[in-house]
């Protein structure tokens, strides 16, 4: 199914974008909104993301990564560019960790994913905060180290551990719900 979608994407089939939108727009919009902090800018970023995906679909190499990862990297970089060109202040990006952590329990979450949401909430705060910073707020690992005052080596270890925890919790969630 996804193989067909990839072929259509590589052929610049506009309907492939429509299918991608169905599958990923919510997850991408959630990430982008956290980076740009403005619904108007987030919508423009998401529009630019899908247009770029359509234009560059032929360059997607399934051997190098999942479709969502490819789309997410386009979306995140477009969002970060938007924060640089839309007179965003760095201070907006460097909100306190408390706010970032608090916001991770945001109020606009899709009800469809409430089950997963609870799983995410079970993550230790220090891991969740780190994933939020790097995954949602566009920080590099070096910037995250600077922001948190944690050595870069520890950041790498914690990020690795945090993603491992995610894998475990999602795995148990999926087993439980199946």
């Amino acid at each position: 199914m996804q193989d067909q979608l990839i072929i259509r994407l590589q052929q610049q089939d506009r309907d492939a974008i429509s299918d991608l939108y169905n599958a990923y727009s919510g997850a991408l919009y959630g990430v982008v909104l956290r980076i740009v902090q403005s619904p108007e800018v987030a919508q423009q970023v998401l529009q630019d993301t899908f247009v770029k995906a359509w234009r560059n679909g032929a360059s997607y190499d399934a051997g190098k990564g999942r479709l969502f990862t490819w789309l997410l990297n386009i979306a995140r970089n477009t969002a970060i560019d938007a924060t640089r060109t839309s007179h965003f202040q760095h201070s907006k990006k460097t909100e306190s960790l408390d706010k970032v952590a608090f916001r991770s329990g945001g109020e606009h979450i899709n009800t469809d994913h409430l089950g997963l949401r609870e799983v995410v909430d079970k993550l230790d705060d220090k891991y969740r905060t780190l994933i939020e910073l790097i995954y949602f707020n566009g920080y590099t690992q070096e910037e995250a180290a600077e922001e948190t005052g944690i050595p870069i080596g520890t950041i790498k270890t914690r990020l690795r551990f945090a993603i491992n925890e995610l894998r475990k919790t999602f795995a148990s969630f999926f087993i439980f719900t199946l």
Binding site: Q11, Q12, R14, I17, S18, Y21, S25, G26, A27, L28, Y29, G30, V31, L33, P39, A42, Q43, L46, Q47, F50, V51, K52, A53, R55, N56, A58, S59, K64, G65, R66, F68, T69, W70, L72, N73, I74, A75, R76, N77, T78, S104, G106, I109, N110, H113, L116, R117, V120, I131, Y135, T140, Q141, K156, T157, L159, R160, I163, L166, R167, F170
Partner: protein, 267 residues
């Protein structure tokens, strides 16, 4: 490197997040091809992060899809599709290492070229600044000369108010003092001035009424434009004199009076 150590190094997470260096990118992709467990680990990390993002998904406004599709249709109508053609990877996707080296080399050449251009521009700028300084000096000199000439013409043309005193400093060698109280001008035309004896200097004087001491009008200036000197104006002056002094800066009172006269004639 031991595969487990490599997997646990944190590099795979960086790769998925698009935060690898070009060298790390090559390494991860090579390891993923050579070691299925690395490939599996990458997929596992991607899936975990995808699930994480999906868990926090937010539904965009309902009209966004329509806006995106309209934008794509508009671009499709105005551009030739890229199907089948090699396409540049989007900025978000880590570029291929060969491309990176090409980019670095191109940037290097560009940097050298720009450095050359900047140096050349700096040299041209310095030359232009010198030229501007020269032209400015010439312009100021011209302005001074013009002002000088205008004062001379104004004095000579005003026949009604200009009067002069003629001093014959040697046989057929005459100099003139001009006075115009309406314009407040006193001038000296030294075209006919003779050379001073060695170590002697000519000083100019205004003769004052009622036995007052003469007023110093300065030294005769050999280099004055057209030998014409604008002097201090004393409207009460009744005549003019030239003295010979041994000090190039002159004396407060005349030492040896060479010539003096009080007979004014018009213009």
């Amino acid at each position: 490197m031991d595969i487990q150590t490599f997997i646990q190094s944190g590099l795979l997470e960086s790769y998925i997040l698009g935060q690898c260096t070009a060298d790390e990118l090559v390494l991860v992709e090579r390891m993923a091809v050579e070691h299925p467990e690395v490939r599996a680990e990458l997929e596992s990390i991607e899936t975990a992060l995808e699930n994480y993002a999906t868990a926090q998904a937010i539904t965009p406004p309902v009209d966004l899809r329509e806006r995106i599709m309209r934008s794509i249709d508009a671009q499709a109508a105005s551009t030739i599709p890229n199907v089948g053609a090699p396409v540049t990877q989007p900025a978000s996707w880590p570029p291929a290492p060969g491309f990176m080296w090409l980019l670095v080399a191109a940037l290097g050449v560009l940097a050298v070229y720009l450095l050359f251009k900047v140096n050349k521009a700096q040299q041209e700028n310095a030359a232009l600044q010198t030229q501007v300084a020269t032209l400015t000096a010439e312009k100021n000199d011209c302005a001074t000369r013009t002002q000088h000439n205008e004062r001379v013409f104004a004095l000579l043309r005003d026949k009604q108010n200009t009067r002069r005193i003629e001093l014959e400093v040697a046989a057929n060698q005459k100099v003139y003092f001009y006075q115009n109280t309406a314009l407040g001008e006193t001038s000296f035309d030294g075209t006919g001035m003779v050379s001073a004896p060695a170590h002697r200097y000519f000083q100019l004087w205004a003769l004052m009424p009622n036995n007052q001491p003469p007023k110093d009008l300065g030294m005769f200036d050999l280099n004055a434009p057209e030998h014409w000197q604008h002097l201090d104006h004393y409207k009460e002056a009744i005549g003019f004199a030239i003295s010979l002094e041994d000090d190039p800066k002159g004396h407060p009172v005349p030492t040896v009076v060479l010539k003096a006269d009080t007979k004014f004639v018009s213009g």
